[in-house]
């Protein structure tokens, strides 16, 4: 699914990733750890095709529309409601039975009752839940998750852990986290960036 050879990324003079080799098969679950600034987010952005490598080779065998990215930012329009945000992405990703799927995700993540409120009024935890709905909406083959448990309350953490377990069998994951122990039961590989 992902194959990197000598992958390097620099921003100006700053070296973020240096000659990284990586091989991930479909169904793998890679947990990426490392200190702040070690390149975890950059690796996810490289895999998503949002930035180009400075050197080396990176091949991702998932088309653009089959990648789900959960970034630091929720990537949601604060002026729009959860329904409007998910409807926008559902249309762009051509999600079949869009309304049913949106309704199911909002129910699952406890956002159904606030579906018509502006996302800008949400707490960070609620935005993270909505961002998870956005990421999972089009049932991506490859999930790139940057600190997925960030800002979630205990119930949200439990919910997401169960969801990851369910998705684990049929999806490929690259998850950047500062808390690898939580994902240890799911992980098939671990990468520590220096």
């Amino acid at each position: 699914m992902i194959r990197a050879r000598g992958l390097s990324k620099r921003f100006g003079d700053r070296r973020v990733l240096e000659r990284l080799d990586l091989e991930l098969e479909g169904g793998d679950f890679l947990v990426v750890t490392g200190a702040n600034g070690s390149g975890k987010t950059t690796l996810l952005r490289l895999c998503a095709g949002l930035v180009a490598p400075t050197a080396g080779e990176l091949r991702v065998d998932a088309p653009r529309g089959r990648i789900g990215l959960l970034a630091h930012e929720p990537l949601l329009y604060r002026e729009l409601t959860p329904l409007e945000n998910l409807d926008l992405y559902g249309r762009l990703y051509r999600v079949p039975e869009r309304r049913e799927r949106i309704g199911m995700l909002l129910e699952r993540y406890g956002l159904w009752d606030v579906r018509n409120e502006r996302s800008g009024s949400f707490s960070r935890g609620m935005l993270q839940r909505l961002a998870l709905c956005r990421t999972l909406l089009h049932d991506p083959e490859l999930l790139l998750l940057d600190e997925p448990f960030n800002a979630l309350d205990a119930e949200g953490v439990e919910l997401l852990a169960r969801q990851l377990e369910d998705l684990r069998r049929e999806h490929t994951f690259v998850v950047a986290t500062h808390d690898p122990d939580r994902l240890a039961p799911l992980a098939s590989a671990r990468l520590t960036l220096a």
Binding site: R45, A71, H72, Y77, Y89, R91, Y93
Partner: protein, 212 residues
């Protein structure tokens, strides 16, 4: 067909954002009316209509610039361009939808500006209206692409005018020409040619602007 559906989805989103936030069109309206009021008092009574037409075009270009500076503000502030770029739609649809939204906002501002110009200075003829319509297309096509480029920069408020104004010179030449010359047809042709050339360039190059 899919392209048109994506375009409609993205343009609808941009109009909806403006309806909710109301931070672009009201600012453009206030600016263009205030500018025309200032010009009304700044121009001596004995000055000709030619000078007034020149000032109308200055007001329109800077009003458009005001809107363009905010064109990608939601995407920039919340990192949303990444999400749009990741979607499996043709990336040029993002540019075209945003340009159409800007065209709508500018048209609303002009619906107020042109009657206000008629009140303060003199009536506008068909050639001027045609010139404004053609100029709007060029302004929004070029301006939206440049706004996307500038959005990635910390100095975007400075960068966008520096990039946009030189490229808007042919639009001002064409617009003023169409307004003040008796036979302004050739200036309208100039504006139409500018629109076609720059719309194609912007449509084809947007993908490279939003990806590294």
């Amino acid at each position: 067909m899919t392209y048109l559906q994506d375009l409609a989805t993205l343009a609808r989103k941009d109009f909806l954002l403006e309806l909710r936030a109301r931070d672009t069109v009201p600012a453009m309206l206030l600016f263009v009316v205030a500018t025309l009021v200032v010009f009304h008092f700044a121009l001596p009574e004995s000055s000709s209509n030619l000078a007034a037409y020149g000032l109308l075009w200055v007001a329109l270009v800077f009003t458009a610039l005001l809107g363009l500076v905010r064109a990608f503000s939601s995407e920039r502030d919340q990192g949303l361009l990444d999400a749009l770029v990741l979607a499996p739609c043709d990336r040029s649809a993002i540019w075209l939808a945003k340009a159409l939204a800007m065209l709508g906002f500018l048209a609303v501002a002009e619906l107020v500006a042109l009657p206000a110009f008629s009140i303060f200075f003199s009536g506008v003829d068909g050639a001027t209206i045609a010139g404004v319509a053609l100029a709007d297309i060029g302004i929004c096509a070029v301006g939206t692409l440049l706004a996307a480029m500038a959005a990635a920069s910390r100095t975007r408020e400075l960068l966008l005018p520096l990039l946009f104004l030189p490229l808007a010179v042919p639009i001002v030449v064409g617009g003023v020409g169409a307004s003040v010359v008796d036979d302004g047809g050739r200036y309208l042709v100039l504006l139409a040619v500018y629109d076609v050339i720059f719309a194609i360039i912007c449509w084809a190059s947007f993908e490279y602007v939003v990806t590294e």
